[in-house]
Symmetry: C2
């Protein structure tokens, strides 16, 4: 058995799972944003304690704990660099702290990497040795599997497709640059572009609903957003030559005819024909359990670590 | 000892080298473009025969032959898919044919991958486990080393940074798309942009010479080209988080103040600050021997293959 913990801005969740990804127990609590890192660490510990008690009642041993964290992580050292949502996480040695408390090997990574491992092991990415995962929601994150391994890069920062620039001198992004894919095509960007086009305040969901009702301005906004996404994804496809692109996050749940289908059609216009030829573009499958299952996959991805705490 | 063969559009070259990359012998012949694949195969065989005779005179055994080919290759099967320069190569099983003729294990890959392995093993990329190699010359090619392995992708097409789109609806590229990095920033593109800006026909070299002489139009063209290159490279840096970017090909030999230095300064404007923070951007080192040394590195990269022919 392993435990997977997903530390997000809204919820902190945990699951107890077997090797094949069957969830035996699941816990979800609201993240205490005002309590800072200290409250966050206590909540994580509380969830792990509960799941460990459950495992112990069932007579099974927890061999590994995986934590998918909403922010950059120094993977080698297991140290959080920053939370995207909660203050005070900078430099917290989350791995060592949890290993000390629970005497169980822990692996900590950012949630985009965890989500990539989750879809690869348990979701729409099963069977693909080379894939690109992109999560389109409040922000845009991603991860890369190459020859059956997560591509981390030199400082565990690889996969940042949301911050590849698709419109030079485009909208200002949270990262400080202009025209990043995230600033053009995340949920907030769709709301902003929709509001501008329609001359009134609308949400991202409104834009989809209006486009479904054949509103021409909303349809134009969506087609421009899809063009930007296809550009960012197509660039990654030319660079990486993946067998599959897996699209996750809130936007992947929009009506397929409105989003995934036109996106599939647009991607080949932005990458080498040879790389587009055999490319699968599929919606992610794990949906509400993506966070927990990503952390479970993360725990299962590092069996060698088990020796460190024994 | 290994043999490395570089099959280019202008020359076909070969070298006999030791494990540490010391070249013992070198042969260069003009590629017979009109003779098609048959003449090309004979020329390759002739060069290998000469180098094998040399090895035999020295009393050493050739354990592996690496071939860097100027065009896409089915790496798994050792089959040429297309030559960028010579007709008739489609589907030629170059690996098996050479193994049959020389009873020595052969590995065949495209010259961009070979060049990447060469700079990584023997050139400016030594010591970097994660690097991006980009070759800017007549065309723009590239390759990726990730966690100490060449990233091939699903169909050995990874690394095609020259065909990532940096200017939507930009100049027509040889690949059929518009605005690829290659169509904006290769040698021919610089000549084209220079000719347009100056109102007369100039070569890429002329543009550099004029910029060195403070011609404002040539300087503007170069700075726009560098901006496009920085965009393409910055995007790859955000996706891959390499420790180093190695710039090879003809353009890397331009005066540094005119090219490499401004490019180094521009890249961080097109990628995540965190990924730019510790990034090395260096000129390639192998220069005229890049092709042969790439093929030598390719031969050395696959020691396991030795068993197939024994």
């Amino acid at each position: 058995m392993v435990i997977g913990i997903d530390v997000g801005g809204t919820n902190t969740s945990g699951g107890l799972a077997s090797q094949d990804g069957t969830l035996i127990a699941k816990i979800r609590h609201q993240t205490d944003r005002t309590g800072g890192a200290a409250a966050g660490l206590e909540l994580i510990s509380e969830i792990i304690s509960e799941l460990m008690e459950r495992a112990s009642r069932d007579g099974v041993k927890v061999r590994q704990i995986g934590v998918g964290f909403g922010g950059p992580v120094d993977f080698e050292r297991g140290v959080v660099l920053l939370s995207h949502h909660v203050a005070g996480w900078e430099g917290i040695p989350l791995r060592d702290e949890l290993e000390r408390r629970f005497q169980t090997p822990v692996v900590v990574d950012n949630d985009a990497n965890a989500g990539t491992l989750g879809e690869w092991r348990f979701g729409a990415g099963r069977g693909f040795n080379d894939l690109l995962y992109i999560n389109i929601g409040t922000g845009i994150g991603g991860g890369i599997i190459s020859s059956g391994r997560l591509l981390r890069g030199a400082h565990n920062l690889a996969g940042e497709i949301g911050h590849t620039i698709v419109v030079r001198d485009g909208p200002l992004c949270t990262c400080g640059k202009r025209g990043c894919l995230e600033s053009c095509a995340c949920g907030d960007a769709i709301a902003r572009r929709g509001s501008e086009a329609l001359g009134r305040h609308v949400s991202g969901k409104d834009v989809f609903a209006l486009a479904l009702d054949q509103d021409p301005a909303a349809q134009r906004v969506l087609s421009e957003v899809i063009e930007d996404l296809a550009h960012g994804i197509g660039t990654a496809v030319s660079l990486l030559n993946p067998a599959a692109v897996i699209i996750g996050g809130g936007l992947s749940e929009a009506p397929q005819a409105l989003f995934l289908e036109p996106l599939k059609r647009a991607i080949p216009r932005f990458c080498l024909n040879e790389s587009a030829a055999n490319l699968h573009v599929n919606a992610a499958q794990l949906r509400y359990e993506a966070g927990i299952m990503g952390a479970v996959a993360l725990a299962l991805s590092q069996p060698g670590l088990a020796s460190r705490c024994q």
